[in-house]
């Protein structure tokens, strides 16, 4: 554990000094990676722990992003932390609203319902054009923290790092709470958990809400990082990217979610010039993971860390 703490220190320092060490573009890329990592953790809370695979998380991300953007436009005085919290809570509430009816669904039915949810969200954004400006897209103004305008990429980077660090720490610690233990029990066996007296339905709904909350906050971070929102950015392929992150990183693993998000985000960036090959590569990654590396990078690396 002492070794772990040292590594954490190194990582923290690296994150702190990152903007001084690399060109601006990589600052942006790391911000995006961290926002995606928060989504991946959120998706993993749902899929990795309570076995509810979602193909609709781009929808949650869109709700969070648009909520944060519209709040910043219409209530510019609001501190950015409050804006992000509100975005998370609004998305979380919608997550609970979707989660309750989804309790009746299992396996692929649930997955297809979330897929449908994602489509409906982008459609709604497209059609509420008096508020969201529809297909024209929405420019996101710089957020404010007290008297401070977070106008530069670097200031927004520190915002993202701070928020992401808090959410990662919360996710890791969640597993030591009653709720987290219930999630772990449900992951191992829903039936066993139920017969041990864990109210599975309530915890599945909580998982939906929490997952949506994480994704909503990430949506806010995404909005401020990218600075421009349009509904077609939140299509089903983005939802698929999130699924790839957690399958590659490892279901039910917080570090795995972060690694998966990093690999997918960076690969996306590298392959920007080879648009047509991108789905080919990501599809191959998915199949290879399922066939040769179930449990993802997290489980593949487990023996390495255990030896220490």
């Amino acid at each position: 554990v002492r070794g772990g703490r040292a590594w954490l220190g190194v990582l923290g320092a690296a994150l702190l000094f990152w903007p001084l060490l690399v060109p601006g573009y990589f600052v942006f890329l790391l911000s995006l990676t961290l926002a995606n990592a928060v989504v991946a953790i959120g998706l993993n809370l749902l899929s990795g722990y309570t076995n509810q695979l979602s193909f609709g998380h781009a929808g949650f991300l869109a709700i969070g992003a648009y909520t944060a953007a519209l709040l910043t436009i219409h209530a510019p005085g609001l501190p950015v932390i409050v804006t992000l919290l509100l975005a998370g809570m609004a998305t979380g509430a919608i997550g609970v609203g979707l989660g309750i009816p989804c309790l009746r669904l299992e396996g692929l039915y649930l997955t297809m319902a979330t897929l449908a949810f994602g489509f409906v969200v982008t459609e709604v954004i497209m059609n509420l054009d008096s508020i969201t400006r529809g297909a024209d897209g929405l420019r996101v103004p710089a957020p404010r923290l007290g008297g401070l305008f977070l106008a530069s990429d670097i200031s927004r980077y520190y915002l993202v790092v701070t928020v992401a660090a808090v959410l990662v720490a919360a996710a890791v610690n969640l597993m030591r709470t009653r709720t987290g233990r219930a999630f772990l029990a449900i992951r191992e066996s829903e039936i066993a958990a139920q017969s041990a007296g864990i109210p599975v339905a309530s915890y599945k709904t909580i998982a939906f809400g929490l997952s949506a909350f994480y994704t909503g906050v990430a949506g806010g971070l995404f909005a401020f990082t990218v600075g421009y929102l349009s509904p077609d950015a939140f299509d089903v392929f983005l939802s698929v990217d999130f699924v790839i992150m957690i399958i590659l990183g490892g279901l039910g693993s917080v570090p795995g979610s972060i690694v998966g998000a990093a690999v997918v985000t960076v690969l996306h960036d590298w392959l920007a010039a080879f648009q047509n090959f991108r789905p080919l590569i990501f599809g191959t990654i998915l199949i290879a993971c399922m066939l040769f590396m179930p449990g993802g990078i997290a489980r593949a690396l487990q023996p390495v860390f255990r030896r220490r």
């Binding site: 669904l105 297809m112 449908a116 409906v120 059609n127 789905p279």
Partner: protein, 293 residues
């Protein structure tokens, strides 16, 4: 107010769209019944086989009948490859493992098709004339009638196959109880492969039928979502349900724009999907499956 003649026209074109959804739903249900998994790549396999048929048509100036044959054979070959190389390795996997594998497969197929033929729309030759057929005041598009007729023929063939042949009986036995089927000497693995092949062939026919209307493009694969919705409406796993669900979905989708604001037109199938799942998850003709612990 919409005239009765116009309404009939809309319903008939709805039935044509619905026939395609029904075939797609049947393809999904055939694989689901045998292997209890959803083939998310069914739409992309349809797209791929239609493209191959079209490429052969262009390269060798094939007559249209042969184009269909090529597409169906291409679908079957694709299914054999996919089933042997990828799916069979994951037979013992958990319930959504195969879903994710086929999701990966759909990304790959779409990408490969895009690399070979680009992501543009191509016109597909039609077997039917352009001139509408007039029945009194009602005007019907020949292509709609052709799609409905072709689909009904294929459905009748499937009915015969499942009802009256050894192979069909074996497939139904595996759908009912795998272990009992194995004990009766049915090769379950063979049924798995056959289901993949049959589903791909049904999909290929659907692709060739619909391509003249929607154009040929790599986006065609998205039809899998409508097919899934259709199958859910009818009750996932029920073949008559798949047909009924497809027809209903097609008609509703074509009628909706007449009565609903244009904004939610494209959401209709999804709203229906969510509605059905919530109100009657077993669908119209489906039975609730109970699992013993």
């Amino acid at each position: 107010v919409i005239s009765a003649a116009a309404l009939v026209h809309v319903v008939v074109s709805g039935l044509a769209t619905g026939s395609i959804y029904a075939l797609m739903a049947l393809a999904l249900v055939i694989i689901y019944n045998a292997t209890r998994t959803l083939n998310f790549a069914q739409g992309e396999m349809l797209m791929m086989s239609t493209f191959i048929g079209w490429a052969a048509y262009r390269a060798f100036a094939l007559p249209l009948v042969l184009t269909i044959v090529v597409a169906v054979l291409a679908g079957a070959a694709l299914a054999v490859i996919v089933e042997r190389v990828i799916i069979r390795r994951s037979i013992a996997a958990a319930h959504w493992d195969v879903l994710i594998i086929t999701l990966g497969l759909s990304l790959i197929l779409r990408s490969v098709a895009g690399l070979i033929w680009t992501h543009e729309d191509f016109p597909f030759p039609s077997y039917f004339g352009e001139r509408p057929i007039a029945l009194g005041p009602v005007r019907l598009a020949p292509v709609s009638l052709g799609i409905i007729g072709g689909s009904l023929l294929l459905m009748a063939a499937l009915y015969g196959l499942f009802g009256f042949t050894r192979m069909g009986r074996a497939m139904r036995a595996v759908a009912q109880n795998q272990r009992a089927a194995r004990l009766m000497g049915i090769s379950v693995e063979r049924v798995y492969s056959l289901s993949w092949i049959l589903a791909a062939m049904v999909g290929a026919v659907a692709g060739v039928l619909v391509a003249p209307v929607t154009f040929l493009s790599t986006k065609m694969g998205l039809i899998v979502i409508n097919g899934f919705t259709a199958a859910v409406i009818g009750g996932f796993g029920s073949m008559p349900g798949a047909v009924l669900g497809g027809m209903l979905l097609g008609v509703i989708e074509n009628l909706a724009p007449l009565y609903l604001p244009s904004g939610i037109r494209y959401s209709v199938p999804f709203l229906i999907l969510v509605g059905i799942l919530l109100i009657r998850p077993a669908g119209l003709l489906g039975r609730v499956e109970r699992r013993k612990v």
